[in-house]
């Protein structure tokens, strides 16, 4: 199984920077993959001492577990699995590598996560659509952004499944939660947690400070936080 990753850089940049960015993503995959038997994360799950970057990721995930009242939990699936955070964290690392090479205007996407920096063209912010939960070829909203991470958790995709670690069941009544903010890994964890909260998610997303959110309910209502208005 592969996750398509898109990198769109609108500056002149040494193509080797792209190679370094993809090398980073491959390293993330090899280190954190729960599908690879001897990945570092698998060995850590069996008691091995984590390397410094893995320890830092796990520490961040622990802080997010507390911030989300346990709704984001790397042990939710019965094994150590930080991919709900790592997905976004990996793109942040790739963006940093590209920025080091002089890329100021870029758009990255992987597995439904989006990270944008700068502009798509002079004076024109990036246009980030939010997938319509029921119509594959439509968007529910469009965000205009210059520096933003956008993550969505939902149950409309074939094969998508988020378990609420506290109840053990999928949530009811919510089709998707999109969280947008300065750090994509954090937005990822918040979206996962808010979706797991079901109908209590939207109210909780109103407490996330500089992270904005948009929740699409099964009954056709869309609830968004005040911070989202400036992006629409």
């Amino acid at each position: 199984m592969g996750i398509p990753i898109g990198i769109d850089v609108r500056d002149d940049v040494d193509p080797r920077a792209l190679d370094r960015a993809f090398d980073h993503l491959r390293w993330v995959d090899a280190t954190f993959s729960t599908y690879v038997p001897d990945s570092e994360i698998a060995r850590v799950d069996s008691g091995a001492e984590p390397s410094p970057p893995v320890r830092a990721v796990l520490a961040r995930c622990d802080a997010l577990r507390r911030r989300t009242d346990g709704r984001f939990d790397v042990h939710a699936n019965g094994r150590l699995d930080p991919s709900g955070y790592v997905k976004g964290w990996a793109l942040e690392g790739a963006a940093a590598i590209l920025a080091d090479a002089g890329a100021r205007n870029l758009c990255l996407h992987a597995g439904g996560d989006v990270l944008v920096r700068g502009e798509r063209a002079p004076g024109r912010p990036w246009r980030v659509g939010i997938q319509h939960p029921l119509r594959r070829d439509r968007v529910a909203a469009v965000l205009a952004a210059r520096n933003l991470g956008v993550a969505t958790s939902g149950a409309y995709e074939r094969g998508a499944h988020i378990i609420d670690p506290r109840s053990g069941r999928p949530p009811e009544g919510v089709l998707s939660v999109t969280v947008a903010g300065p750090d994509l890994g954090t937005a990822d964890a918040y979206a996962t947690a808010a979706f797991a909260m079901g109908l209590e998610g939207p109210g909780w997303t109103a407490t996330l400070g500089d992270y904005a959110a948009l929740t699409i309910l099964a009954d056709g209502r869309v609830l968004s936080t005040p911070g989202l208005d400036r992006l629409l």
Binding site: I3, I7, Q131, V142, I162, G203, A206, S224
Partner: protein, 150 residues
């Protein structure tokens, strides 16, 4: 900006979250019969939303909103702001004790903007959606965007 580099590659596995299909249940059961608010209501039920102030600092202010009638309850919302950050939302239910409500985020409605779901065709550069596998990526809106941009 004069250059543009676009690259698409597939990276194996584990950036995906583990997933299976979920059925979406209709959320509304029959609402309970709510008695009309009495002129002198009994002790109102206060339901708090547990929030963490995180790094909130600054003057603490509370505000009480208008009374909101939903299909399931009559409520009033109190919010607490610490500095500029919303740190607590409380709902005070005025419908009478014993009435278990099924209000869907009634406590958050004055804070959240509510709109009807629309299906848009605006031109976009990228789409954020729930995690997809490479199989469903082929059918995805993001795939269509990537193909259109060559």
């Amino acid at each position: 900006m004069t250059g543009r580099v676009v690259a698409r590659r597939a990276v194996p596995a584990a950036l995906a979250t583990v997933a299976v299909a979920a059925l979406l249940a209709n959320v509304r059961s029959r609402p309970p019969v709510i008695p009309a608010p009495r002129v002198t209501p009994p002790e109102p039920e206060v339901r708090r939303v547990s929030t963490r102030p995180a790094t909130a600092s600054g003057p603490v202010r509370t505000g009480t909103g208008r009374i909101v009638t939903t299909p399931f309850s009559v409520i009033q919302v109190r919010v607490t702001l610490t500095g500029k950050q919303l740190t607590r939302v409380e709902t005070v239910e005025l419908s009478g004790t014993g009435a278990r409500t099924q209000a869907i985020n009634a406590h958050a409605e004055p804070i959240l903007r509510e709109e009807a779901l629309k299906a848009g065709t605006a031109r976009i550069d990228v789409v954020s959606g729930a995690t997809y596998t490479s199989e469903s990526y082929r059918d995805s809106l993001q795939s269509a965007i990537d193909r259109a941009r060559g």
